[in-house]
């Protein structure tokens, strides 16, 4: 994992002054039969700018996918339920005003899905309907959202397939999903997602099921398409290598909360939350010999890791669900009353216990209009 020479946040020219999408204090819980509701996501805040890649990192079940699914209202209800929060989105139709995606009706939401926000999924093997040709499936997205003739939709589909690098699209457009390899299917999914020129792409672990060569191709393809279309990408992943190569801004999640939010360089150079430090320390380095790898637990189980933040003396402590909350916890109503995502150093947010010291500080919502330099 190599990171190119550091570039200042100011180096990238601002494309837009307002974010494309802002998630504000999102909380989603799931019914658990007789037991208490499971709080999948709580107090999540993040923002994405056009042409920016926001990587959402975390282990399985930390709420990455639920956050993305909530934005499209795809969380099954019941058992799911949005408890709090807003997802503000700048639509193509009315760029001056943000709409709250969570308040839209089903019909309004259908106009957003695929058209303004597209999503690609982890399993390219099963995300395509086996009984239709890939052409039918790409064209369906186009015909649903654009007033075009089927013949013209086919032209768009062919162009989209060509854009995602499917050779001989005229021949492949009549093929069924089972006639495509995994990488090709993921390309079809991307072509489907891009056919309507969405301004935001939610990529839910798009490369997890693919081998590393194909993975590199797909990610390079996404980057290329992002550059040409000014598209924002939310890249959900748990591969830190993918993050280092592709992301502009990183959002680390744990147990349904955002524990750290910073630019990719800042995060890798200066991780502030012990969990992030553990995550980074656990990556084995090629060329070093070790009997035992560092685990996240090694890091988070040492108490001094939690007293390193600026302001630790006043009681600023990183939030950690397995710890006893600090005595001077300034609770507020709501499930996430003990938690706050705060800008600890400029451009670097960390999830903290909401102690009295934290409450007194001023802090803005996580918001980084940063893109790293395009590779030459």
């Amino acid at each position: 994992m190599t990171i190119a020479a550091p570039t200042a946040a100011t180096a990238a020219a601002p494309v837009a002054t307002r974010p494309l999408m802002r998630v504000q204090d999102l909380a989603v819980s799931f019914d658990n039969g007789a037991g208490p509701r499971i709080q999948a996501v709580d107090g999540v805040r993040m923002s994405i700018y056009p042409r920016q890649t926001l990587a959402v990192v975390g282990e399985s079940g930390c709420g990455k996918s639920v956050t993305a699914m909530s934005a499209l209202q795809l969380v099954p209800r019941p058992p799911g339920r949005v408890d709090r929060g807003r997802v503000l989105f700048r639509t193509k139709a009315d760029p001056d005003r943000d709409v709250d995606l969570l308040s839209l009706t089903d019909r309004q939401m259908r106009d957003i899905r695929g058209n303004e926000i597209a999503m690609i999924f982890q399993e390219p093997m099963t995300s395509l309907n086996p009984v239709y040709t890939v052409g039918d499936q790409i064209m369906e997205a186009i015909l649903l959202h654009q007033q075009v003739s089927p013949a013209y939709a086919r032209e768009i589909a062919l162009t989209a397939m060509r854009d995602v690098g499917i050779p001989e699209p005229e021949r492949r457009i009549t093929g069924y999903p089972h006639q495509f390899s995994g990488g090709m299917r993921q390309r079809v999914m991307i072509a489907m997602a891009l056919a309507c020129q969405p301004s935001l792409l939610l990529a839910d672990e798009p490369t997890t099921a693919l081998d590393v060569t194909i993975q590199a191709q797909i990610l390079e393809l996404l980057r290329e398409l992002q550059r040409t279309r000014d598209m924002g990408i939310m890249l959900i992943t748990h591969a830190l290598g993918v993050v280092a190569e592709n992301a502009d801004v990183v959002c680390v999640m744990y147990a349904g909360r955002v524990v750290e939010y910073a630019t990719v360089l800042e995060l890798f150079d200066n991780p502030l939350h012990p969990y992030t430090r553990g995550l980074l320390a656990s990556i084995p380095r090629i060329g070093t010999r070790k009997d035992r790898l560092v685990t996240i637990r090694d890091v988070v189980e040492s108490p001094e890791e939690f007293t390193r933040l600026p302001g630790a003396a006043e009681g600023v402590r990183p939030w950690w669900p397995w710890h006893q909350p600090p005595a001077d916890l300034a609770r507020r109503t709501g499930p996430a009353g003990d938690f706050d995502l705060r800008e600890v150093t400029p451009g670097h947010w960390v999830g903290l216990w909401r102690t009295a010291a934290v409450r007194e500080q001023e802090s803005r919502a996580p918001d980084l209009d940063y893109r790293r330099e395009a590779p030459a």
Partner: protein
Amino acid sequence: MRTPLRYLDAVADPGLTPLETGATPGRGRRRWSLTGVIGLTILVLIGGACLATLPYTVGSGRYDDQRQSDARLPPFWTYPRGAADGARADDIRRYNELVPAATLARVAAAHDMTPEEALSSTSGPVMADLRRAWPRYWLGTDRLGRSLLLRCLAGGGISLGIGLAAAAISVFIGTFYGALSAYAGGKTDAVMMRVVDVLYGLPYVLLVVLIAVAADAGVDEYVSRARARQHWLDAGVARVFRAEHGRPPNAAERAAVLASPVNRHAELAAIALQQARADWGRDRHGPQPTLTSAAEVLQGTSSTGEALGTIAARAVPPRRLAPGARMALDLTTLLAAIGGVSWLTMARVIRGQVLSLKAQPFMEAARAIGVPWRRQFTRHLLPNLVGAIVVYATLTVPQAILQESFLSFLGIGVKPPLPSWGTLAAEGLGELNGYKSHWWLLVFPCLLLGTTLLALNFVGEGLREALDPKRGRR
């Protein structure tokens, strides 16, 4: 610093992506399985013969043409060629007696015999000559001397028709019920499936009997219109009573009106005139009725009840139904009853399929591109169910045919003299005995039924293979 892999360059050089272009593109070739084709051929032959001859066999009533003297004749191609003595000789003598008198006389004359001598010849050239004049039935006759071939054809038409129609009904109900139940999910799903469980708990014969009896009552009322006529009568009584008292009558008063003499009621004459005008208005035959001519209807009646009954019989006459129409109604009832109770398994299977399909990522992907609810159901869900639907439909057709046979055997289904393969087989079984087997009465209906059921299964398997795109790559 790694050189980024430029995907678009890679495409320009086809050498870099040999695996990606290796798969066979385009539509999978449709392969027809041999067994499927054979099954379809047999099915078309049998089904076509049975259904196409229905107008000839059932439409003209030939399936019920009886000739008592020809009872229980075997298929003509199994007739004995001669016998010295024993049971066979008795048979031959019996067949000889069925030869028309003129032919018998001619044969006897040719061999210098009396007709009586010729009749008792059970071998040799005389018998061979007579043998040519024996009655010829391709599949023999039953105990009433009806041609088994015609009855098998008619029965096949009825069995297949009921089987296919009942299966179609059950597949339709089952598919939509199961799919909607699974798709709705939650409480709706629970309630809908509990309904299926309860129906499963009831014996299906009971349900079929209930449906058949209810439908029969409905048909009876449609034909006789007894209730409608009674209703008309009550309205007439009320009208007569109200003209005198200005209020509707109670039960005792109604009886009093019915028993009262005709002459007292001017209103009765008005009703008669109204009906006479209505009758006249239908065909405009003869002079327009007047109050006087209408009152003639009331002349021969002694009480108001009788007079109203006479008018009611003209106002609400019973419908006349052709015997064929009544038969068709009975059959429709039967197939609706069978179809109406055999969708339960189908609904459960489809529900299971939909539940697993619903969790498939491609359904989520369809939602993510904004496909509306109804379109997700019809475009993405139903086509994936085709395999299951076809398989269960082909299983349901023979099942429905078997159920029809069973019900016919119990006397609820196809009513004699109308045949079905089931009733024919049941009759044939009854004709088996140790002395004379009458095997043809059992063998041919069973053979036809068995072959058809087997062919249906082959066709179902072939269809499944042809319709399933995942199998196209072999």
